[in-house]
Amino acid sequence: MSQTGTVGDKLFRSVLLVAAASILIIVAAMLYMMTQNALPTIQRFGADFLTGREWKPAQEEFGALPFIYGTVVSSLLALVLSVPISLGIAIFLVEQAPKKLARPIAFLVELLAAIPSVVYGLWGIFVLAPFVRDYLGVFLQNYFGWLPIFQGRLTGIGMLTGGLILALMITPIITAVVRDVLEAVPTTQREAALALGATEWETTRIVLGNAASGIAGAVVLGLGRALGETMAITMVIGNSAQISTSLFEPANTIASLLASNFAEATDRIYMSALIEIGLVLFLVTFVVNALAKLLILKVASGTNSAKHT
């Protein structure tokens, strides 16, 4: 080892450290700045801000609960719809599809990921919302109308349409990442499993088990986009600050509220309320991400132990 080698290593290490630390500093600085600017409402409303159900800027009444509810429910709805499909596409592409078919499908998936969200929103208003109103919603009400989540007025605009559009937007992201993760699992594992007489399904389960943490990462990435999506969701969710059991009713999300109101917030207390709700989104994202990661790792370890029995 030459002298320059150790100096080089030291330099390399400190560059990496700075890179890693910068993320911490950015997050800390953002949290600090947001807390500072949200102080007026934090002091005035305290915990009522989180539990209040009324959002009336004109009366200086700020309750964030409907937005927290809308954000969490729409994002979870999107995950529930999107994760099985994304996994299916990715597994098909990596494990089953002939190369000739895999390439164009993978290309299409990546193409979907590059579409701007406002285009998804417009498509949501002009295609998806009428489809939900005239077909999907009618179908759900006819066959599952006894469920409270499918009751009530059917306008095509609301939580369900919002969840659908989010699901559509995060599917390409989750698919692309899961595909890369599955491709990274060594081929020898598949060969070993097949050599031991495992079926294709069993082999895939082993591959999935080994890729679990990567898949968790993919889902969290998708969830991040769903939680933070603004334009597309604003256009189809109905922007109404209410908590309703029906998925057909309009709702609102934190990101959508911020997108439509931040530029126009003139008075100090309103600005503070919007910044505080941004802070809440920060926390919601953190909690939901942690839960999602835990859940997936748990499911994956279940798959792993199942194969040993």
């Binding site: 009336k56 800027p57 919302a129 306008t155 256009m235 109404s240 309009p250 609102n252 530029a263």
Partner: protein, 376 residues
Amino acid sequence: MSKNIISDFSAFLKGNFAALIAVSAALFGLACSGQPIGQSNAGGTSGENAGSIRLQGSGASFPKPIYEKWVNEYGKINPNVKIDYQATGSGAGQKALLSKTADFGASDDPMSDEDLKNAGGEILHIPTVLGAVVLTYNLPDVKEPLKLSGETIADIYLGNIKKWNDERIKKDNPNLNLPDADILPVYRADSSGTSAVFTDFLSKTVPAWKEKVGTNKQPSWITGVGVGAKGNDGVMGQVKQTPNSIGYVELTFAKANNLPTAHIKNKAGDFVEASLESVSAAAAGSTAKMPEDLRVQITNPDAKGAYPISSYTYILVYKDQADAAKGKVLADFLWWATHDGEKFAQDLHYAALPPDVVKKAEAKINSMTAGGKPLK
């Protein structure tokens, strides 16, 4: 030591937060107005040929078509003047003027007394053109214009009238084939001068509205009644896509998109179609009562034939301009706009200012100064 660094850093963060917001708001506005970012060199004169002056304006989206026309036409007459207008919304326009990130602001509703008091100088309201808010609806079987009174509109948006064939709607529309269907009211989800004018009219005509919802750019809508959409185009998209819905948009927007519009009952008791004539009539009836600072809402006027949901839109400027050269250009532009510029109004579906109001605007423009010296 480290404590010092931290407090310096926090001071830096605090100091830059407003700037950060302003920059992001400006970028957002740029994104909305679709202008290339390079063009919006706020007030900068460098890099251009000598003597050229740039002005930056931002605010209401409602007058955007005519302001863009004005800027364009004025640029032809005065090639060394370059004015950029960003339709960021009335509230953002007021904010940009107060934080001095724009040379002039634009707003559909007048600034509040409190904002005027806290501003860093006297602010003038220069009325430019008139517009109106119209009710548009999606009723495939209704061929003739719907007739609505303030009470009916309020009841629809308050959730008291739920079906189109309600007696209260039928009473004013005996000949229409109104369906037995749920009404879906659509409102503006973003803060908007359009909402302010709309709710001002309803507050003036319906006491229950004033009490429950009030007049605001962002009113407290009754939850569970309707859906919110962003911008005039958002409301239009929602109404076009949803049978049995109703929404409110700017007159210019409705005309440009050939939307059906309801006739609204005015104070005299007539159902009036929104048109340049009926909006002008609303303005003409109120000029006598216009206050000294020209801040006025002209909804629900007494005049016969007046469309009751009309309003002025304003350009906001500081009376005393910081830069004499820019101030002079701004005053000249405002003078041109309120005189020669008015002839472009009709084609773009705005009502021009009544002559009396032009006189009042003249006085305001003439009172503009730079460092205490008159500009005109």
